[in-house]
């Protein structure tokens, strides 16, 4: 599937390493029981421009999986982060911005992590107008129109928020999710459902996975000097 592979190629695993004397890491794979519902083709008939910008079918992005069998599937676009056990400390936000692009009437990336105070650079690579509407709850909402060729918008978040949704009202299928954290220990699963959180001091942490539809799963992980492993398996409710 050409679309899926291009999506997966675009997904960036964000793992910021911090300089620590003894830095461990957590890595693993997120899977779900069985196969996900089939992605649907989005009806773009109302917007010829979008048809032109993204030839072929445009599919919903709620379920993006890698290797998939009847038993289990690797799940992409899962936001995995350390949700507990960190010592209170200020982690200065990186000065480089996180880039969110509107391309082919979709957002790239679909799920991403960003730090409190870090700049979010929103680009419009499409030859059409979009509007970027944040539906954040802990942060101030914004809603700005961005015509074709307009310069990038720079936004930032003032508070931790899991997850802040951003959408386009003009193209209602366009949405993406930002996990806003005040520390650098997060990652988004790639096409094969794998993730890696690096630079963690030794200790025991709560690690939480979030998926757009399957919501959250949390487990406890102990990190030593080397790589600790934490796989997630989304099971259906009994």
């Amino acid at each position: 599937m050409s679309y899926t592979s291009s999506t997966l190629g675009a997904i960036i695993i964000i793992a910021v390493s911090v300089q620590l004397a003894a830095a461990g890491s957590i890595s693993g794979t997120v899977k779900m029981e069985g196969k996900p519902p089939k992605a649907k083709t989005i009806d773009r008939s109302a917007d010829a421009k979008c048809m032109e910008l993204h030839p072929g079918d445009l599919l919903t992005e709620s379920w993006v999986v890698g290797e998939s069998t009847d038993e289990a599937s690797q799940v992409a676009n899962v936001f995995v982060h350390v949700s507990g056990g960190l010592a209170a400390k200020d982690w200065p936000a990186p000065t480089a911005p996180v880039v969110l692009d509107q391309k082919g009437c979709r957002y790239e990336p679909h799920v991403f992590g960003i730090r409190v105070g870090q700049s979010l650079e929103i680009r419009n690579s499409d030859g059409t107008t979009h509007n970027v509407h944040s539906l954040a709850k802990n942060n101030k909402q914004f809603n700005n129109g961005q015509p074709s060729g307009a310069p990038a918008l720079n936004k930032s978040f003032d508070a931790v928020e899991l997850m802040a949704k951003i959408k386009c009202d003009m193209h209602p299928w366009m949405s993406c999710y930002a996990g806003v954290l005040d520390h650098p220990f997060f990652a988004v699963t790639g096409a094969d459902g794998s993730y890696k959180i690096e630079g963690l001091p030794a200790g025991t942490y709560e690690v939480t996975a979030w998926h757009e539809r399957m919501r959250t799963r949390t487990q406890s992980v102990t990190v030593g000097d080397d790589d600790a492993s934490a796989d997630f398996l989304y099971q259906k409710k009994k």
């Binding site: 914004f142 060729g149 307009a150 209602p172 999710y177 539809r213 919501r215 949390t218």
Partner: protein, 1000 residues
Amino acid sequence: MPSPPPGEQRHYNPITLDKWFTISCVLFLISLVWMFLQDYNREWRPLQKEFRVMDAEKTRAQMETERARIESSDDYQEARALLEKASRDVAARSEQLSAARSERHSLEKEYARAQQMFNFKKADLDAAKYKFEEADSHGHGDPVATRQAMEALTVETDALGIESEKAQLALAAKDESINAVTAETRSAERSLSKSTRQLDLLDRKLKALDPAEMSTINQIANIVRDMPIMDMANPYYGVRDKQLIIEGITDDVIFSRVDKVDRCMACHLGIAKTDFADEAQPFTAHPNLDLFLSDASPHPLKEFGCTSCHNGRGRGVSFNSTAHSPGSVEQRKEWEDEHDWHKLHHWEHPMYPLKYAEAGCLQCHDGQKTIPGADTLNLGLALVERAGCYGCHTIEPFAGRPKAGPSLRRIGSKTTQDWAYHWINNPKAFREHTWMPSFFNQSNNAQVKDRSDQEIKAMVAYLFNKSEDYALQEPPEGDATHGEELVRSLGCLGCHNIDPERVRPEIVTLATLRSEHGPALTGLGDKTTAEWVYNWVRNPTGYHTGTRMPDLRVTDQEAADIAAYLCGGDLGQHAAFGSTPVPETDATKLKEITLDYMSSVMTLAQARKSINAMTEEEMVVGVGERLIRHYGCFGCHDIPGFENEPPIGTDLTEEGSKPVVKLDFGNLHGEVDHVNHAWFNAKLQNPRVFDKGKEKIKGPRAYLKMPNFHLTQQETDALVTVMLGLRKNDPGLKRHKPRTPENLFVESGENLVRALNCQGCHELENGGGDIRASIADWYRDYKVDASEDDGADDEWGDEEDDWGDDGDGDGEQDAEFLSQVASFSPPLLLGEGRKVQPDWLFHFLEDPSSIRPWLKVRMPTFNLTDDERNTFIKYFNYLDGESFPFAGSVHPAIEGEQYEAGKRLFSGDVFQCQRCHISGDEMPAGTPDMWAPNLQAVASRLKPQWVLDWLLDPQAIIPGTKMPGYFPDGGTSQPDLDADAHRQMVALRDYLLTLGSDSE
């Protein structure tokens, strides 16, 4: 004991006299000391001492914080570093400086000497001038010699003058050189003292407060100033410097009006101090310093004092003499133990108990029905409207309001006599939360149930006998399923509710009252027929011209569907109600009741005679009429034959001023406190309570007849607050909210808003838009596309609940869902005055045209008069501070470059306005939840300035709106019109204004 000298004859024994004189002297002395001590040991003294210690502690703590703040502040550190550096510089040049100073000293001496020499010489010159004048003009001396002397002296004086000036300049130069060395030090000192100013002020305050911080001499003075007798002069503890004299608000003191004096702060010392917020009484700060007491608040302490609002005796300086009022029996007991509390009998306005404190607001805010911050009072005022108290009791501020209940003029077409009997007998059995009060089965008349039954039957008989005709039209076949969707989407739920399980809310708010504006729509199939509901919904005024039910412009089929839904199924049927048989008419009982009523207006013999001449029906209908008059049913209902009856209840306009002796406590003197609010409370909780023990003495006709509204304690407290606030106009109170025309228009607008329940659907100045919850239900059930639902939410669930937004469009907390619901809800009307043109509003209210055709909820047609529509225009505009005539020019000329720019920005290449906005009959491409208002209405509907504000920052006007801002932070991404954002907005606005005319 020596005997009296011989020869002295007295009528008294001097020894005895001396003895008694001594004793009385001692006694007088003791009483004098006692008097001083008594006067010295006032209640406020130990409190003031305690407060002084607390205040000192707090000041010290503040100083610590301030010191820490200063020390961490850059300004302070900078100033200190500067000062240190400057001091070092000065020290390094100290030798040079001291040399310069000694030089300056000698220069100063030199200047003084030169100045003096000059002055002496000048005096000599003046003398010479005089001598010359004498010689020259009057011949007293030699003119030549005197002239020479004068000229010589002139030369000398001038020389000395120059010398003196030189010395002065030299001194100034020296000063300057010295200043140059110390200038830095002084400027550093100045900025240091600027940054420590707050600290210095606190320090000064602490030195006055805390003896430990004082010098020895001040410590002694501090003790002496407060010693008995000495404290007449200038004591620390006292009342004089703490009392407030309120100019312009007067008290009636023995037949004369004098300025109000409040001495409350003799004990309530922390009342206006923010840092005393958490202290206990009497030192606690006022709970709302933003609204009261502080200088910036609308009620500054100096202008209002305390007793203007709270009542009580402001001149008092002890717990009892100030007329404190306990709010409950427990509090009274507590006060009796602690303060030896007793009622101050001869003070007309005792303090309001705390829970009724808001009663005080009504004295000045007497025209308003919603007073910002007075939640209890506002609830009470809304309850008066909802319960319809003004139907039986004249209450001036509520004069002219429509009757609270439905019209009974055509009741024959609506329901049956049996249903009406059961309803009057026990309204709560039909709907637990109904506002129809209970007249029967109450504490004083439950034991005459036989009589009550015949009374109810007689009233029902009258109503049906006089019922006027109402031609019911046959409805088409109704579809209940579609009817349900209509009821849930048209906006019916802004005023009615359809929950058969509903009970009275535990906490009543203005919002819960708004949701009960109309009756609940449950059990309608029992009460009436689908045919009647069809006719009613189709045309409410056809049934009752004065109804508050607006016209929703439903089609015949829609009306039939709604009727089918409301009258059928679980919603329309009420199995338990009316299952007991209606008692038979009892002729004997009926006769007895008739005789009872007729004998009150004629002799017994006459009454008997006319009763014997009546048929049973005549008797039933006749006594029914008398009973309706007796119980005052017409206070809330429109009833034929009772069009001009005066209300039957006590006038409550000045109820709060009524002396307590005029309230009949019946047999409850021990049980109900002998104060007005306790009486009001008991009366509202059970209006028949004061008949207790009198049921056998009074005849049923004399029983108390105020019906029982089954009020909760919260509702009762709110109503008591209103009653306490309804007072005789106090001539001494001259702080009314200004009765400007603007304020009056806003007030009458607010009255209309409440009478029509606008806030049931729209959010306005103080809340509203309550319908949104039911729109959310409707949206979830009807609009969320079932094909989108892949069942994942049920299958996968969530481990924790703190991940609010799952993005699937069904959760309460889902921001996207709420925004979709918002787009299907009635529009916000905040800022409507700034937004729409008055002409447009006038016509819209007369004939609502669709601006948002995607909305299912319908703006109804209210039967408004021209006056009422103008009231709305003035209300919205004055509320937003717009000035008459409310609209500027709305026809700007646009051409050339401007026009091209506006057109381009509007187009599908740039802002793509028509992607969401409707334009004329042209609908946008997407689904209706994306649609936005019709742009062709801009020219006739919106104020030009508002359009600019909206284009600049839509989120500032409606937070969460889907309208994107294209001009972030006032900038623009487009090159048109020299990339000037403002000119682009004006061009776009002016282009929008041309849209309507294009199509014409």
